[in-house]
């Protein structure tokens, strides 16, 4: 499963990050690293992006970017 498929309110653990380059590095810099627990807080009113709770703060990423994050 990837992060964009997780229902609102669901908490998952990051298994793997696909992709490379600036976007991947930015996502990891913000604390979304392997083994981190993430909660999907909500989806924006127009369906994209999504809001996550990670490491005690709120982060917003697009569904495209979330699709590159494998979770368990």
């Amino acid at each position: 499963m990837t992060l964009n498929e997780v229902a609102v309110g669901g908490t998952v653990k990051i298994a793997r990050l696909n992709g490379a380059g600036p976007v991947k590095r930015r996502i990891m810099d913000m604390g979304l690293t392997k083994g981190t627990e993430v909660t999907v807080r909500k989806i924006a009113p127009l369906g994209d992006p999504i809001e996550l709770a990670v490491r005690g703060y709120e982060l917003s990423i697009r569904k495209d970017e979330a699709a590159a994050i494998e979770v368990a």
């Binding site: 600036p22 590095r25 369906g47």
Partner: protein, 802 residues
Amino acid sequence: MKEKAVKIALAGNPNCGKTTLFNELTGSDQYVGNWPGVTVEKKDGRLKGTTDVLVQDLPGIYSLSPYSLEEVVARNYLVNEAPDVILNIVDGSNLERNLYLTTQLLELGLPMVVAVNMMDVVRKNGDAIDAAKLSKSLGCPVVEISALKGEGTKEAAELAVAEAKRGVKGERPHVFTGSVEHALAHIEESLHGKVENATSRWAAIKVFERDAKAIETLKVPADIVAHVEEHIKDCEKEMDDDAESIITTQRYSYIQKLTADCFKRSPRKPSTTFSDKIDKIVTNRILALPIFLLSLCVMWWLAVAEGGPGTVLTDWANDGFLGDGWHLPFTTHEVDGKDYDAAKEDFAKAEATVKAWEAGEKKASVEDEETGEMSEEWDIDEAGYKAAKEVKEPDPSAYGVWVPGVGALLGDAMDRMGVGDTVKNLVVDGAWGGVATVLGFVPVICVVFLFLAFLEDCGYMARVAFIMDRIFRKFGLSGKSFIPMIVGKGCGVPAVMAARTIESERDRRMTIILSTFIPCGAKTVIIAMFAALFFREMWYVAPLMDVIGIAIIVLGGIALKKSRFFAGEAAPFVMELPAYHMPTFGGVVRHTWNRVKGYMFKAGMIIFPACVFLWFVMHFDFSFNLLEDDAIDKSMLATMGGWFKCLLYPLGLGSWQGVAASVSAEIAKEQATATLGLVAAGMDGASTAAHITNLFASFVPAFVPDASKGAVAKLIAMSFMLFNLFVPPCMVAIAVTFREMGTKKWGWFAVAFQLFVGYTLAMSVYQIGMLAICGSFGFWTVAALLVDAFCLWAIFRPAKKN
């Protein structure tokens, strides 16, 4: 002996309270500059109560990665300038992510102090931080502060100064696991003596990450890079991940262990904080968009609505404070049952009656100063004429406490000094007019930025991007691009400046280029005049101009996104949604003042001389004689317009009047209508409106059959209007664009793009219109069609994949 000045660099995440701390430490003794070549701001200030301690505020960053502009600027500064000490501000209520940057800063090998900020929030949440333990683990002093409350800030700065003098003493932590540390030790050894010693751990990690930019800056020899590649590959194989990800993951693992040790989090129920409650409402699926629109309406009313504070202040600044003068509020009273405005109107009517009667006419009307529209006509007779002659100009001081404006005072002073009209006009209209143009925008900028600073500081701006991103990224912009465009409906100057809130350099530049296409308040004057003069029976022309503006933004965004200037580096939308908090009054005011100051001193330096120059060429001939207002056809501008008229020939405006009106529109867009009135005054007709109609009729080429002359005159009017609405905005907005784009090259790019759009639009409408109306077909028709084809290609071609 005088001691060397100590440089303290403030580093930390965005929203960690860095700016608050900077203001707290430096007081008012600070100045804002730009980093060379980029729009990232650099702030310097002197530590309060000292003469030899300089505090430098770095851009707020999450990491020292090579991928974002702010980060590269910050790390180049830290590595190349080597400040004496780093004061790392850490948000105590968001410890894990903030310490991530800390681990990177420690590797630079510079003296460092960690200040855990927002301790008031931490304590309120019932959490606790063990500063002593943290200090021991990080190998540098750790202090607890609250920048907002002013707690511990002075001590933090003093500690930083002491640390700078002491040098690096404690042992910095080994963040990574055995095999990575082993590889790093090996790289460090290979680099020994090749790069500057103090930063060797930093260099080793950069080589391990294969950070090309850092390897180049540090001048790491290529053979070393090749030599250590084997070790990096071994590590990657062992961890089944790429080197960059290994480093990032292990940093966070280290921090997790560290915070488990030093940070006691009190148990609390989820979703009960103040921030969560607000967020539930403002990003609610149904309420989010209405709330956002409501906040836009509030801003619209504040800044540009008729009767709102922005307009009232702007009118007061332009006509009152900088112009003739103004009545002190609450002191005004009526004379003979009329207030001052009514008396002034009566006087204008009487003047028009006298003038018309003396010219032998039977009807009179007055003209609106701003739109050039004529009032309804009234009949006049001899009795009316005699009565009108008796009406005296009202004396403002009879209607209340009258405060003369600076413009009026300057004029009086000139009169008293007995200087000639030429000098008086040069000083009052030319020079002071230029200053007044610059200052006239200050009220609206203040109002817009007080509101924007509030939205930004309270945390709502990030939610705006969150809500709107879906729509705007379709044409290459960011969710935050919507704000400048709405502000742009009122005035392009604060709109361009509002783009500051967009972090991505690429999105920011595109927003700046595009946001001034929305017809602003001054352009609305042009639209109103042309709609009234030429398109009375076509009600849809005025709203159509807004639609065209929006279409240009959407299509222009799509075309620019596909062009090589903006292609590549797709800006990731990975954005922190900071907790909501009530901004402080001082913070918001300071935020606003910094922008206004930047506008006045940086943009003003371009606008002022340009205004004076344009005024000069409009009012003087080549023998340097001051001209009457209606003798503009003898001015230098008219002569120079004659030289360049061929440039506007493809638009049907090949005359010096067309050039002169378009050039003067660059001082302020509404000036186009005034200049048209002046340059047309030589023609037959009683009113300005008739002058302008006749002027456009005279532009119609001779070969057009009589039956189509009316339609072609309208076509030319349309071409003129489109050209002036969609070429680069007024000079003030251009100057601000140059400043905000960061480099001259990008400034020129914006102007060239806007010129291309305006010119293409006017040329296409005129050439295709001529083809439709009277079947004229020629070189320029083909040229227009070719340019249109190019535009369609630029918009609809498939985007290049990276």
